[in-house]
């Protein structure tokens, strides 16, 4: 038997996931030696056709990053599902929808107008906008059907495991690869990374008082943060408590609070709702008006608490196929 075949692929993503894979640096040689990479567009010139020719289940695993935003993505995703024994949603976009998933809450028509007609320096007197099927002088150019909103991968195909992070850290990627290579296959739905929240590994957790009660939530640019003290205790929203650990607390070490890219812990149905729950609860006020006023100062709850997880959240439930 040859080396196990694996694939890497990207949908609507930024390329950071690929960077994180390349960032395993010298260990990439070990990976290349251990597996046979069947497809990896960022680095290898294998094409879709190579994928199509594979037997069903020929690949042991594929790591798919990026959200699903058009019919072409969906087609390829379904292809990977068939060709691969295990499908791994890699990175926040694939796992939960990611930052571009915030688009869910916006109106697409206004976007087109804003970008192509009312853009700050756009010169477009004829009000031309991109169309999905363009015809001119017998020339026809097709663009795939763009979905009304971005989807997380498991809204479109069945997903076996998840590698969290925006992007995942090289360590959590290696952990996933090594776990699968070791043959100790985790149970379906397993999310790599820590079993505990970021607080568990946060270097500032020991500076947190026993009771964290906050009079006012401050925005990070308004204050000079003490990098040696729990940010939450300093009144700045840190999503460490509700976010899966395993990232080595990189943002915290970089002097900034956690924004939640590793997503929720096991058993949490909705990341944002859980974040709202504890953030609101530690507000130290027993005056209804004051509560309203203070919480009003969090300018953007949706973008703050669902920054990476809106499409996959309980907030939206229309799945592909429900749209028409």
């Amino acid at each position: 038997m040859g080396k196990p075949k694996v694939g890497f692929y990207w949908f609507a993503s930024c390329g950071g996931c690929e960077e994180s894979q390349v960032d395993i640096a010298e260990k990439i040689v070990d990976v290349i030696n251990a597996v046979d990479i069947a497809i990896w567009p960022v680095a290898l010139d294998f094409k879709d056709s190579d994928l199509e020719r594979m037997e069903d289940g020929e690949m042991v695993a594929c790591f798919l990053n990026g959200a699903i935003t058009n019919s072409e993505h969906r087609r390829i995703a379904e292809l990977f599902r068939r060709k691969s024994k295990y499908v791994i949603a890699y990175g926040a976009c694939s796992y939960m929808g990611g930052i571009p998933g915030l688009e869910v809450s916006k109106d697409k028509k206004s976007l087109i107008e804003r970008v192509y007609i009312k853009g700050d320096i756009v010169v477009n007197p004829e009000k031309k906008v991109p169309v999905t099927e363009y015809t001119e002088d017998g020339i026809k150019i097709d663009i795939p059907e763009i979905y009304e909103r971005p989807y997380s991968l498991d809204e479109v195909i069945d997903v076996d495991f998840y590698v969290p992070g925006c992007p995942p850290t090289p360590n959590v990627f290696l952990d996933a690869v090594n776990t699968l290579l070791s043959g100790k296959i985790p149970e379906k739905g397993y999310v790599f990374g820590s079993r505990k929240s970021l607080c568990n590994e946060c270097p500032l957790n020991k500076t947190k008082p026993e009771k964290v009660l906050v009079k006012e939530f401050k925005r990070p640019h308004e204050v000079i943060l003490d990098p040696e003290k729990c940010y939450l205790a300093q009144g700045v929203i840190c999503l460490g408590p509700v976010t899966r650990g395993g990232c080595d607390a990189l943002c915290i070490k970089g002097g900034m609070p956690c924004t939640g890219c590793f997503g929720p812990l096991d058993g949490i149905k909705d990341y944002g709702a859980k974040a709202i729950s504890y953030i609101a609860s530690i507000l130290d006020s027993k005056d209804l008006d004051e509560i309203r006023r203070t919480l009003e100062k969090i300018p953007d709850p949706l973008g703050t608490f669902y920054r990476y997880s809106l499409p996959g959240s309980l907030m939206y439930r229309k799945r592909i196929g429900d749209e028409k």
């Binding site: 944002g272 709702a273 609101a280 027993k286 509560i291 919480l295 949706l302 907030m315």
Partner: protein, 143 residues
């Protein structure tokens, strides 16, 4: 909005105040729309915003949460405030997400206020009827 739309409403009531008011409404034979389905928690402080979204996701058109009057009626000191804080933040989030925040209602109803309970539930059902169905389909899979 269809003529015969019957909204589904989940009412999460605390055990000590509003559930007791609901019992009193029963013993006093006060009627209110059958659309309202009561789920009890010991305290509104127990209400996790996930419950609200779960209800919407499973087909609720409106959710009402009611507990003990602030500042001092809460059996657990300040569970009502804890819920209220979550409610305020959740409401704003729902609005940003395009779910009319009127679909989540917050009330204080004490054990003696059965009449208020009847009024609020009747009013709320009507309001949701006007808003129409929240078109969210049920996702596969259980709890």
């Amino acid at each position: 909005m269809s003529e015969n739309f019957e909204p589904k409403i989940v009412a999460i009531f605390c055990y000590w105040c509003t559930s007791q008011a609901a019992e009193l409404a029963g013993t006093s034979r006060m009627t209110y729309p059958p659309n309202v389905r009561i789920v009890k928690t010991m305290c509104t402080g127990r209400v996790d915003p996930q419950f609200i979204l779960w209800a919407f996701r499973n087909g609720a058109d409106g959710v009402i949460v009611s507990g003990c009057h602030p500042p001092n009626d809460c059996h657990y000191e300040d569970g009502n405030f804890k819920w209220f804080r979550k409610y305020v933040l959740l409401s704003r989030t729902l609005e940003q997400a395009g779910i009319d925040p009127k679909r989540l209602r917050q009330e204080w109803i004490s054990a003696s206020e059965a009449d208020k309970l009847k009024k609020v539930l009747t009013e709320f059902t009507e309001e949701i009827r006007q808003l129409g169905p929240l078109n969210h389909t049920i996702r596969e899979g259980g709890v």
